[in-house]
Symmetry: D2
Subunit: 337 residues, 4 copies
């Protein structure tokens, strides 16, 4: 931690700052520059990260030297892959495809789409049974029935499933059905829910909040790991910017940065990321080129009758064609699908 | 709803769009312009708001004519004020002050601050017992003990209390202690929690998500009202922008807009909004001039030892001085404190 | 300047960093922490601010201790007010009103509006003769004719005038007519233009770019001052955010911060800031409460026939009423109009 | 144009709106819905785009049906490629590499880097002689000397050159040296400059403003085309968001959208886009996968001594390696370098 003092700081204030630092068992080194006095704090930064150092008289600002997250960071050893069912993510070689409808709408729809995405090359089936919708008047999902339809589709296709959890009270019930828990963008900082899934035996796919910094995302992942669950996948799904022509702004910058700063696999969701069907394929290819470990893409066999997000679902045949193009780009960056 | 078709739309596509609209029991009027065909949809917009019209072949875009929220909107009658304890908000005359520490840290601290803010003019006591913290390593609040200390401070001062709820499982327990439930910025779209507090008998202060549009905020409030709880206060607390000199960007534009678009009282939280102690007073005054019904301001008697957000807490004497200035500005806009 | 080294930095790299610092005539102090090595750079920071220190092997990041702007900063002496014509800004007592049409449209319109805003209490007349328009097909202003009409209105009313300059080639011509040069939001980082007006004898009102940080704004002002022109007014006029309900997001947070960080008067433009006629008055009052030295507000006597921004112009009578309310709020914060 | 009226609109107001529309020679069709009256305007939208329809009493909002840009839009014919020197852009097959130093620093540096990027596969040489710098105290470029060094490097290598123009007064002089004019991000809405380069015989690379919407970018391009210069390249170079870990957020979403909405070639600048040397290669590959027609990448042979942006320049050998990877990804999407 580096403490920058105010231009008019007094010696008494500097002494007081040093005392406060030493109270926490750390060492303070005073560096007197030409214009400013800077105080370096030596010792484990965690001890004082949360202390209100900037509230001490004479302090202008405080810079952290260390990152505030630990468990998600690379530690010099190769992280074991995170697996959904028996599908490993983050192996370095494979780019995994997750696909399925936005919402589970019926048993038939789920099964039909599951078969078609499996045939195209998807390895994991997605589908929402509990839907976080901006409006209370929108379709809220089929609930536990939806989970059953997903489990049936798994039985029929062999694809493991991922679905979203929205309420801490649902964990035990959801664990009966799903292979992976998804935390949606709007719940990325629902800390009660993060702690709860941190105690699950299931892997968790944590979607980045649409206005979360990368630092925020990593700290939310840290919540899950710090409760004992190391099986976390990070998902970039678009951020909110001033642009109005797209639904969100898919932030592919996050991909190489997350790969460098964490041990965790990185999934990209171009469907929500750009939110316009015509441009999802290009963004999917770009995500693979940027280094994504997996893609999550929504498919619907009858988009104009979808109960949610029909506007951005790919038709099964468009998805199948996209998988072929994804294979080519993956090969070009030394990976395969 | 207005449907704009693509430049190359065919007559068959137009017919199909019209058919789809009529399937929902609505009427479609086709307007053939010089360059484009536009289809006006006549009838209750709610019926088709959620339909994936943009997924129908030939559709370029769809504009809603009506607002997607209803219950929060002005309806021509004067809304009854929302009360916390016996303190009414949104009367038009009064600007109410809510104050207290960021976190409840101990019985003594809570009591001392409660007395001092009451003496300065605050009418409601705030304090966090469950704290949403970006990092799992930060102080997470005292939990139910904190609620007890708040209740004791209420008994001693007569100030009703407001505190944050973070988990659906906590509602029954929290209802035993608090007079108002706060939904924090990070949970503004935690829809499970919104529904749960929508079934409470207590009023709810809903803080705007730091990247929520005003439309998002109103739809989140609509969740609470649609579950049967009409007692909602909206709180502007700063949005996330590109600016790095402040913690957030307090968006006072939201104040007159929320006053015009809703029946609900509007609270402004300049403490989190700008997040820099030296500038909180000016933003508080500006909020009142912009038309806020209430201010929520954090106070701490020893900021450099606060367990959270000490950097932005006002000293009790600074708060007392600010209340005097708030009174003057309130009077200038025809209100009092 | 503080240099944070990478976790795996070698002693040879540290030596090389120190050498590089010393090459610039500065002193480096190496601080060995528990986890990281930090290097404090002692000496005038300007010398190395622009050096690519982060490009030196072993460096992780570099923090500046000093602000990068100098001339705009408070220096312990009371800054002389900036005057437009004979109207002083930044005296501390007065809140000055600048008003007029968005565009100069005709001699009669300019004169009529000039009289009406003068009667209401405005002290400076604004009006655009060269208009920066997003589309090439929009009205681009009357050019030098417009300047003549403004000068005529000055002659008739005694109000000094402010108008926008868009091209370095126009300075000499504009100096013949106007009392103050405006740099628009879109030209805030048109450095050729900043340098040019920095050599003018006229005061300059610099509007904040709609996505400029406060730091960027101050550095743009520094360009003007560093060319020898100390007479700069800073204008907050709304930033671009994700919100779609308003034209821009007026950032009143900038007001107290600019007042604290600079010697320069601060103007607020609520017209462009929120861009919705119904809410301009509330934002104008809030700006005064936040500490603005002046307001700039657009008025039009026939908004539905205005050639630009008619949607956000106030009617003369609405402006006159607003001035009365501004006086009350100004008085409440110890100032007058 | 679609006019949505207010809920309480009167028949007299509707008549007045219709009259105003007809005054402009257009036809108005009144559509009476269940809850609202909507007025469709039939006829060339350009005529009334700029009219302040929202200022007419009774109007709630106005939606444009047509895009406000014309010349930049696809018109059904294959656009001729834009060429810099003899290098064509936007052919569909080729991905062109533009490379060179951020600033021209000396004759030797320019020549050495020109040779190295040419050998690696670059087809156009970039280098700044006039540098837009946030601070007046930063290196501002060598001016005309820099242009001479670039021209010498062209003579030696055969690479055509691109360099930035910042001042309308410089056009004639710059035309003597350069093959393409660059408009920088900060000047994207410097309309005087756009008009000036619109009259040049040289092609123009227009960089997207860091907070410009795609619509803004297209209208700025439209300025250039509407002055008679059809040779415009659009460049995505990163937008400003809330993220602090990167310099900017490279917005690859813009690539497929610009390809769909315009006739113009699309260049991506990952150097400024993410601004962190370690992640530039991944973003470059992603840009190609997303469909970019060209990449612009900064290279420096001694980054730690560069006079600007050394922190983000690639070493020549890193660039050469990147070109090999770009070739592979280009081939995977059916293109070559």
């Amino acid at each position: 931690m580096i403490i920058i003092t105010q231009p008019a700081v007094t010696d008494a204030q500097i002494d007081h700052i040093v005392e406060r630092v030493e109270e926490f068992g750390l060492k303070a080194e005073v560096l007197r520059g030409t214009m400013r006095v800077v105080i370096g704090v030596i010792g484990p930064e965690d001890v004082i990260r949360e202390k209100p150092l900037a509230a001490i008289p004479g302090v202008e600002s405080v810079f952290a030297v260390m990152k505030p997250y630990r468990l998600v960071s690379p530690n010099g050893t190769k992280p074991p892959p995170v697996t959904i069912g028996s599908v490993p993510f983050g192996t370095g070689e494979k780019v995994v495809l997750i696909s399925g409808p936005c919402s589970v709408e019926s048993e038939e729809q789920t099964l039909a789409i599951a078969h078609s995405v499996k045939n195209a090359g998807a390895r994991v089936l997605r589908g929402g049974a509990f839907k976080p919708r901006t409006s209370p008047y929108s379709f809220q999902g089929l609930g536990e029935d939806g989970l059953r339809f997903l489990a049936d589709a798994r039985a029929a296709t062999g694809l493991p499933i991922i679905t979203e959890i929205m309420d801490t009270r649902d964990l035990a019930m959801m664990e009966k059905y799903t292979d992976c828990l998804q935390i949606g963008s709007r719940n990325m900082q629902n800390f009660a829910l993060l702690k709860e899934v941190g105690r699950s035996r299931l892997p968790v796919m944590l979607k980045r909040g649409f206005s979360a910094t990368i630092n925020d995302l990593l700290l939310s992942a840290e919540y899950i790991l710090s409760e004992g669950n190391p099986n976390v996948l990070l998902c970039e799904r678009g951020i909110r910017t001033f642009e109005t022509m797209t639904r969100n702004t898919l932030d592919l910058n996050a991909v190489p940065i997350l790969k460098a700063k964490t041990r965790l696999p990185v999934v990209v969701d171009p469907t929500h990321g750009i939110g316009l069907r015509d441009y999802i394929p290009q963004m999917a290819l770009a995500a693979v080129a940027a280094g994504a470990d997996a893609l999550m893409i929504e498919v619907h066999d009858n988009p104009e009758r979808a109960r949610s997000d029909g506007d951005q679902a790919l038709l099964p045949e468009v998805f199948a064609d996209l998988v072929r193009r994804v294979r080519a780009v993956a090969a070009a960056v030394g990976r395969d699908v």
